[in-house]
Symmetry: C2
Subunit: 227 residues, 2 copies
């Protein structure tokens, strides 16, 4: 297996591996493999896969949608989501989102590193930042949406069904709002969606990264692979 | 209400509050109060409580026991535990714990800051680092213990009851192991405890800070104040 320049730099420049050294490989489709370094160069090299050490395992079909917060906490959200088991990460800009931009490439690398750290064989895709209304307008018909609404009082409009009453498995997404919460308009829009289910994360105010872990735990217990 | 030197330095030196400025106060017993600055000096001052803005609310009688990890992640565990609602934090040294020491005073300040951030009116006590066997030897008779065991295969000894089958409320503790897991001896000891219940946090390996949030979520849903 040929290595590109970045991988060669990391393995042979940073980690200083020599010919014959062993590494664990995964590509998100074929499980985890033990491989040996066949050739080690400054700008390239080759790995020779030896045997499969773990089968491919996919996380459940769960997306995490989150409003980017400060850099360190956004990194944490990505790391935690990978550990907890999600299929796709969608950063969304809401009315009260502080960050207008994300470094998609940096978050994607961060997701890869988190997968390496926790022994996952799958790296979720990190999508580009999109506006929440745009994401909701193109919402896939068969995917349900769990959102956590601190201001449970729903106002005059329709109220989304409680997550506790959602039945059956299938594709889902978990939406974590920004630290300032959703706007009234966003809240009304979410509550009016057929696919939406509202969940409570307790009586205390959680930071966005804490809320992400708690909400994914809730979902995994109910519909995921935590048995 | 007189202020000590540290509080005066923070309010008048760092935050540059003047006489008449408003602050929110809590002492862990009387709820949250709005107060005004009556006197502001370099080494002291006085606050005048005006009215109670929130009643005192106590988290459920849950302890979090955790093996200290690297500084930033230990800080996160403390912060997350405060947000999620625990009554007491007990750092414990296990056989595979990397850190032999903690800065109890620093973690206690961190807990206070986390409570201020999330609008809690209670700051959990952070105990001094203790050895796990010592803590277990003095285990209070009426407190149950939920622990998360990655190596679910229990060996030859007795196996603790599953958390899912634990009944009734009452005092509890959640125990999060070090990133290297528990030793065989520790695992056998825990499984043999009458008070112990074992929980699963899914098929992936979680970092200690992620495991803390997930485990407290599990507990809060079952026995806590997340309704």
């Amino acid at each position: 297996m040929p290595l590109d320049r970045d991988a060669a730099h990391y393995l042979f420049g940073v980690m200083r591996l020599k010919q014959g050294a062993e590494v664990l490989l995964f590509n998100g489709a074929d499980g985890e493999w033990r491989a040996t370094v066949a050739e080690a160069g400054k700008r390239g090299g080759t790995l020779e896969p030896q045997r499969r050490t773990r089968p491919q395992t996919m996380p459940p079909d769960l997306w995490l949608m989150f409003a980017p917060v400060k850099k360190a906490r956004t990194d944490f959200i990505v790391e935690k989501a990978v550990e907890m088991g999600v299929r796709r990460l969608l950063p969304v800009a809401t009315e009260f989102t502080n960050s207008e931009r994300i470094r998609q490439d940096r978050l994607q690398s961060h997701a890869r590193e988190a997968a390496e750290q926790c022994g996952a064989t799958f790296v979720p895709e990190v999508a580009d930042l999109a506006k929440l209304p745009d994401v909701l307008s193109a919402w896939p018909e068969d995917r349900r949406l769990m959102f956590c609404d601190e201001a449970q009082a729903g106002g005059d409009g329709p109220a989304a069904r409680p997550f506790a009453e959602a039945g059956g498995p299938g594709p889902w997404a978990v939406l974590i709002g920004p630290e300032g919460g959703f706007s009234d308009r966003e809240r009304a829009r979410l509550h009016a969606m057929e696919a939406a289910h509202v969940a409570s994360l307790g009586p205390r105010i959680l930071r966005a990264d804490t809320a992400a872990v708690a909400a994914i735990t809730l979902w995994q217990l109910r519909f995921g692979d935590w048995t």
